[in-house]
Homo-oligomer: 221 residues x 2
DNA sequence: TCACAATACATAGCATCGCTATGCTTTGAT
DNA sequence: ATCAAAGCATAGCGATGCTATGTATTGTGA
């Protein structure tokens, strides 16, 4: 009685198609616009509204896609016997992901509109928190270290480097600063300096830094 | 013979007017567009083209304005007897500036188009390098510390925090992470831990953190 | 002092942007 | 089988940045 007749169901494939195409256009530096997005796909401009509610919704979904890819990348980092080494590996993976899709990374944070899906970022942080707690349990860090705070600080370091490199001011080589910075941070948290440096450098080497692509900008949001 | 007649000179006041108005609109979250920018100023849309060559030129000029304000803010940090304290004060000033005009800060780095005026950023870095060299000369840092590298790392920390707070993921309180992070970095560079912490916290207190404004987004570039 | 040319400035128009209004088509529950 | 609800396609709207064209202004060389 309340709902007398249901209607045509929307095809999830269309949504994925648009999202992947948008990410692809972002990656190839093509301006992502409503009409250019649907051009050649066979679907009409209205699809963007039925599936995303407009371009803003598409950007939000794209940002979430970015967080999803990041989470996948971080999940691929295998746990080792050394939690500090794992922390460094996570940091390296974070930077590698950011520099492999710099435009998507920009969308994730440069956003001019609010981000409501704070859960995505929180989940990423949680991964760090867990490893930090493991390091604490093994006595690598002081007892008074707050895992969430240390995780946030690690994040700030990673994001600072990633952002400065992705937006231009620093060259790709600057990513190498990540290792000494994390070493300083973890040493400050209580880890023994020499051991910390070895752990971080081991973990850091697990992820390739970046591609030396020549970068020309064009039509970012 | 080569230049037979010169013409009407352009008024620098118009350029400054447009630039200040753009910064003001950015600050009040009004969408900065070609027509809204010149509306009410008496000048026509063409002025944007004669003075900036288009909207892209205006954004570039705005970004340089952002760097100029930052440089002014940093120049206001008085030199004390303690270089590490001065470093922390510079970091705090950097964050304070970023959070006082978050939208301008975004324009400075989020830019979708290349930044050619790397000199502006370099000049900011140079200020840090000088103080770090002073700290080295006073024996606070190891001899093998590269001032430019340490300055870059300090910048990455400041930018990471500023960016994460300015774009939303972290709350304003997160700026407080700056002090412990810089302490860890400088301790890693050779400073004696307890003394470093005192220096950083003293320097950090010299600059107010930020305004607790409720933030709603609207029409960023 | 005068006249000219180069430049600033004002207006109008263009292509494109995101979005909405309007039908038509499809679909699934009754 | 029916029919309402939702997907979908098209056309058009206001607004965007930009360019083309014409006018006004002003510094300079004569």
């Amino acid at each position: 009685m309340y709902c007398e007749a249901m209607a045509r169901t929307r095809d999830p494939a269309v949504r994925r198609l648009l999202l992947e195409r948008a990410a692809q256009m972002l990656r190839t530096r093509q301006p992502v616009t409503l009409r250019t997005l649907v051009a050649g796909t066979g679907v009409s401009t209205m699809a963007v509204y039925t599936y995303f509610g407009g371009m803003d919704g598409l950007w939000k979904a794209l940002r979430q896609e970015g967080f999803t890819r990041l989470a996948t990348r971080l999940a691929a980092v295998k746990r080792s016997a050394d939690p500090v080494r794992d922390l460094a590996a996570l940091g390296a993976a974070y930077l590698a992901n950011a520099l492999e899709n710099p435009d998507l990374y920009r969308v994730m944070f440069d956003a001019g509109f609010d981000l409501e899906d704070t859960g995505a970022a929180d989940e990423t942080l949680h991964r760090l928190v867990q490893v930090i707690e493991r390091a604490k349990a093994e006595g690598r860090f002081h007892d008074e270290v707050d895992p969430l705070e240390l995780a946030t600080q690690s994040w700030a370091i990673g994001h600072g480097l990633a952002s400065l490199v992705a937006t231009g001011p620093l060259p790709h080589q600057a990513l190498a600063h990540g290792a000494p910075m994390l070493t300083a941070l973890f040493t400050g948290a209580g880890d023994e300096p020499a051991r910390c440096r070895r752990s971080v450098e081991h973990g850091w080497g697990r992820a390739a830094p970046a591609r030396p692509t020549s970068h020309d900008r064009k039509g970012a949001p």
